[in-house]
């Protein structure tokens, strides 16, 4: 659909400079790296190729995430290491749970005995430290971490406070290293550095490449680095290991569940295969550039078709082309009947929806899902594979690294709406309420999306999940994840109940607004006023019911929620005024609802902006 754009290649190939203390941010490194976008996927890709994606400034934000918080979650599970926060204590609070992440997994299930005894320590920066500097404390903390646990490595992550007071991290590392047996790996994860939280992963990989990966190890032709995320479970590890073992390959899983040694030997592997391509991008490039380990970015092993492709790619780099075809044949024989059963079950559900007047005869069940960029590729292709239609996807950030994959995806499954938003709960609420998918895949804590959901499934499992039904990767994962989706439609009592609960964070008008309503200069940045109109996107008779609820909610909350007051504060609404008297067309009889010709103008153009 955008073939001509392939002529505009994305050339974001900057060298990985390990002489530097850390990586550049994604904003610095790439032509496009943003955490706010709402529009068609095809437009996003087109704008990326034309270098036309703008990072908007938001007036309203909610609890998001940062380089440190997301990174720490991953680093904690590296065995025989210590994770040291150079920060006030709150930054480390996210790891209060670290001791309990994996120890419930029975050793019989292959858990190494030391997977679970993690150590999250913190320099506990206080008022005195921010005045006089935290360097002495940091050096003492590095020594004390070494004394307490004799780890193989100490991953040192830095905070906003450490960054602002200007502590010389490299100086402290150099001063401490001679007295510490563990290898110290500094990761510059000051939260304010970048709005693209994946910069944090790059900062971690930079430290790993610079300080841990060993040079000049003999090549191990059967060793595959697999970079996995914390949203992939113990069962995913088992599944990918099973598949690669079957063709005579060994898996080096990093960084989740890894030993420090596993990170050290990455330079000797035959190939690096990602589970999420942008999470591992910096590492894969670095391993290629400095250790001559080749890599590929896609596909990722999510769904049957993509798992086939992922395995074939791995085989291509390891000389297992013949074996892999045999493997795929075997696996298909075992798993395809189960995938067919999932398709059939979903068809039964679809017919049930049709019989109830909730769908037209030829309409597919629709879904919105995803979290990170990688999952967009995985979810969308897989949902289509089992006969559903993807009408939207959410991703916590977006950068040009994934643009080609997104482009290919649009060609594969058709166009859909994409919302780029770093855990912005209100954005999600607005999106799901406008698009009303049959299947909502989202974490409830990320917003009140469940209040407008018809059926709500699990967006992803967590790494400590050790039941076979919580596999996501590979063939077993396709079946397990597909069955989760099937189950989601079997009983919606909880979804309905939660939908009725009273707790309501937003004013009623929000559910008809655009997720980018609070972006400054919204109209200039997001051009099309009918963003949610996707060609061929199905509409649902069920909407009438929701509309009634909305109308009710509007009445309940009252409409004049002080907009005159807002204007007092210079909150001018340009364009047609944001009139809560509701000119938009609710329940207009033909089932076309929430595709408003009334899109509230952006709050953006502030008098004082």
């Amino acid at each position: 659909m955008h073939d001509f754009l392939d002529e505009l290649p994305i050339t974001d190939e900057s060298p990985i400079d390990l002489t530097k203390s850390t990586c550049p941010t994604r904003e610095e490194r790439l032509s496009v790296a943003v955490n706010a976008y709402y529009g068609k996927m095809s437009d996003l890709v087109k704008d990326t190729r034309e270098h036309n994606v703008v990072q908007p400034e938001r007036c309203f934000e909610q609890s998001g995430n940062c380089l440190l918080a997301l990174n720490a979650q991953r680093l904690i599970s590296i065995r025989d290491s210590v994770l040291l926060f150079h920060s006030p204590i709150g930054c480390a609070a996210g790891q209060h749970s670290s001791h309990e992440l994996f120890q419930h997994i029975p050793l019989e299930q292959g858990r190494p005995a030391d997977l679970g005894f993690f150590h999250a320590v913190c320099t506990n920066l206080t008022e005195k430290d921010v005045v006089y500097g935290g360097i002495d404390k940091l050096i003492a903390a590095l020594k004390e971490s070494d004394r307490r646990y004799s780890p193989k490595a100490i991953f040192l992550v830095t905070s906003c406070a450490a960054g602002i007071i200007g502590d010389d991290i490299e100086g402290a590392v150099n001063a401490a290293q001679p007295h510490v047996r563990a290898k110290i790996v500094p990761c510059h994860t000051e939260g304010f550095r970048s709005r693209v939280t994946q910069t944090g992963y790059d900062a971690f990989w930079h430290g790993v490449l610079k300080y841990l990966v060993k040079k000049d190890l003999p090549r191990q032709k059967d060793l595959v680095n697999v970079t996995n995320m914390f949203s992939y479970t113990w069962m995913d590890k088992i599944e990918l290991q099973r598949l690669l073992n079957k063709i005579g390959l060994r898996v080096n899983f990093v960084p989740e569940f890894a030993r420090v040694e596993d990170l050290e030997i990455m330079g000797s592997a035959a190939v690096t295969a990602p589970v999420c391509p942008t999470f591992a991008d910096y590492l894969m490039r670095g391993l290629k550039e400095h250790f001559d380990v080749p890599y590929f970015k896609e596909p990722i092993p999510f769904g049957v078709k993509k798992t086939d492709g992922w395995l074939r790619k791995v085989a291509e780099f390891t000389g297992k082309e013949k074996e892999v075809e045999e493997l795929i044949k075997e696996e298909h024989a075992k798993y395809m009947p189960q995938v067919d059963a999932i398709r059939a079950e979903l068809e039964v559900t679809r017919k049930r929806f049709v019989a109830a007047g909730l769908k037209k005869e030829n309409e597919k069940l629709t879904a919105i899902g995803s979290v990170g960029q990688g999952r967009v590729i995985g979810h969308a292709a897989f949902l289509e594979e089992i006969g559903m239609s993807v009408i939207g996807a959410c991703t916590i950030d977006y950068d040009s690294l994934i643009a080609d994959a997104f482009d290919a995806l649009v060609k594969e499954v058709g166009d859909f709406v994409v919302l780029v938003s770093t855990f912005q709960a209100a954005d999600y609420s607005s999106l799901f309420s406008r698009l009303k998918p049959d299947l909502t895949l989202q974490a409830p804590f990320k917003g009140s999306v469940i209040k407008s959901a018809k059926a709500m499934g699990t967006i992803h499992y967590l790494r400590g999940d050790n039941h076979p039904s919580r596999t996501q990767a590979g063939y077993a994962g396709a079946v397990a994840y597909g069955n989760m989706i099937v189950r989601t439609f079997k009983n919606d009592a909880l979804t309905k109940l939660i939908g009725r609960l009273g707790d309501e964070p937003y004013k009623a008008w929000w559910y008809d607004a655009d997720p980018m309503y609070f972006v400054k200069d919204r109209d200039k940045i997001f051009k099309s006023p009918d963003l949610v109109k996707i060609d061929g996107a199905p509409v649902h008779a069920l909407d009438h019911e929701h509309d009634r609820e909305h109308a009710h909610a509007h009445n309940g909350h009252g409409h004049d929620h002080g907009h005159s007051q807002d204007r007092e504060h210079g909150h001018s609404h340009n364009g047609h005024a944001h009139d809560h008297g509701h000119t938009h067309e609710h329940g207009d009889g033909d089932g076309h609802t929430h595709v408003h010709d009334h899109v509230p103008a952006a709050a953006g153009a502030k008098e004082n902006a």
């Binding site: 206080t126 939260g191 550095r193 939280t197």
Partner: protein, 460 residues
């Protein structure tokens, strides 16, 4: 000096040296049982329906505190305002360089436009405190101009702990929000039971209310699902503030006394079981001139019920845990309540109590007294004040016990390391969901035994 060069004895010496340092002076702190001051404000404010915190901080502060503090307290989330829906300025390098005041102004304005709330609470993280944002002035621009009250809690990540956050929030409410009101006879507030930080707070507050109601007193609920901003406004109506903690809530109570003349009464430690609960109720009744007959009737009835229930499981306790040595790792309230109940009513033997809430120096003698004096039997526990997980384990290493009452951080060391049964009674509590569960009150001890014995009862 690296670890290999140290003998085991030298290692223990070094442990002791570090343990003796003020926590702020130690080289590091390992998974203590608290978070930062802003996290404390965030959770405390979120525990009041209708109160909406606005975090003026980096984007990850809410995340870390949602999962590591609110989510760690035995309950998924605190309404919508305490979850990932909390407004936050998500500060970036641009604001670090040029200041975050304009960003905060936008945030307050848009929050007013979009979100429901009866009281908005701006609370700052490290960035605005370090770059010197004049948050007070920005918040002032929004004060009093409309029907949306807003207060500013001066906090940061480095200026204190989540315990401080509780007092900071209530202090700001008192200074910036409360107006004098006529005192109403028989109305009391409960202070010192911090949401999230004390994992049984919901049930505890409910039980205090039930006990005090039974003698005709009215509790003004400040926190929990029945609380509201109107209840905050009613704080000055109280005839007495009841502070249930040897140290927490004291600063708030003093402030209320200074500003509104409300006297306060301190009960140090959670009353668990009939003996302590009766003592608690009688002391309060003396302070408030409650009808004696009502007190006698309430005490008689509730004690009879509690002991009747106890009778059903006393045999199991006797067969399974007669004279069993136990260890406690908990905040001072639970540590005192649990140690006194298990020792004075169940005949268990307290070997070691590690108090994890880092109480101020002046409160420590009182806590130690409550943990070591007026105990049945001849066993007196060793008392330590420690919140570093590694050092807590070192203290436990030197002791022998069969039951370990701690946080869920001790869950996986209790068995392999100490051969002890484990039960979570203090923060963090990742292995429990806690709604109305409480060990407070006449029947609280029974509830504790019910939970613990369920895990370790055997057929015979």
């Amino acid at each position: 000096m690296s670890a290999t060069e140290l003998t085991l004895a030298q290692q223990r010496e070094e442990d002791d040296r570090i343990a003796a340092l003020d926590p702020k002076e130690r080289p590091l702190l390992e998974t203590p049982r608290h978070t930062c001051a802003m996290g404390g404000v965030f959770a405390t404010a979120s525990a009041i329906p209708g109160v909406l915190p606005i975090l003026h901080s980096g984007g990850g502060c809410g995340w870390a505190n949602f999962f590591g503090f609110i989510g760690a307290s035995g309950g998924g989330m605190l309404g919508d305002s305490g979850a990932m829906m909390t407004p936050c300025t998500c500060l970036l390098e641009k604001q670090v360089v040029f200041g975050g005041e304009e960003r905060l102004r936008d945030q307050i304005r848009s929050t007013y436009e979009l979100m429901n709330g009866d009281l908005f609470v701006v609370t700052g993280g490290c960035i605005p405190a370090l770059i010197g944002d004049d948050v007070e002035s920005v918040v002032n621009e929004f004060r009093g101009t409309q029907d949306r009250p807003i207060i500013n809690v001066k906090s940061s990540g480095f200026s204190g702990t989540s315990y401080d956050g509780y007092e900071l929030f209530l202090g700001a409410v008192i200074d910036q929000f409360l107006e004098p009101r006529p005192v109403k006879k028989g109305v009391v507030n409960i202070l010192g039971v911090q949401p999230c930080q004390q994992i049984y707070w919901k049930g505890d507050l409910g039980e205090y209310e039930r006990i005090l109601n039974s003698v005709g007193l009215e509790v003004n609920p400040i926190f929990g699902s029945r609380a509201s901003v109107e209840n905050l406004r009613r704080i000055p109506e109280a005839e007495l503030n009841i502070v249930i903690s040897p140290w927490q809530g004291h600063a708030t109570a003093k402030k209320l006394e200074e500003k509104f003349g409300t006297p306060y009464f301190v009960y140090p430690g959670t009353p668990i079981g009939p003996i302590e609960t009766e003592r608690f109720l009688r002391q309060i009744s003396e302070r408030l001139a409650v009808d004696n007959e009502a007190v006698e009737e309430s005490v008689t009835k509730d004690k009879a019920l509690a002991y009747a229930d106890f009778g059903y499981i006393a045999n199991v306790l006797y067969m399974g845990f007669c004279s069993t040595p136990f260890a406690v790792v908990a905040d001072s309230n639970i540590a005192i309540g649990l140690t006194r109940y298990l020792t004075n009513e169940c005949g268990l033997l307290p070997t070691i109590v590690v108090v994890t809430d880092n109480p101020p120096e002046e409160a420590r003698q009182l806590i130690t007294d409550r943990l070591t004096k007026e105990l049945e039997g001849v066993v007196v526990p060793d008392v330590f004040f420690e919140n570093d997980t590694y050092l807590i384990q070192r203290k436990l290493d030197n002791c022998s016990f069969q039951l370990l009452f701690g946080s869920s951080m001790e869950k996986y060391v209790a068995g392999p390391r100490y051969l002890a049964g484990h039960h979570t009674v203090s923060f963090p509590a990742f292995d429990r969901l806690i709604l109305r569960r409480t060990y407070t009150g006449y029947g609280g001890g029974n509830a504790l035994l019910e939970d613990v014995l369920s895990k370790f009862s055997r057929p015979f």
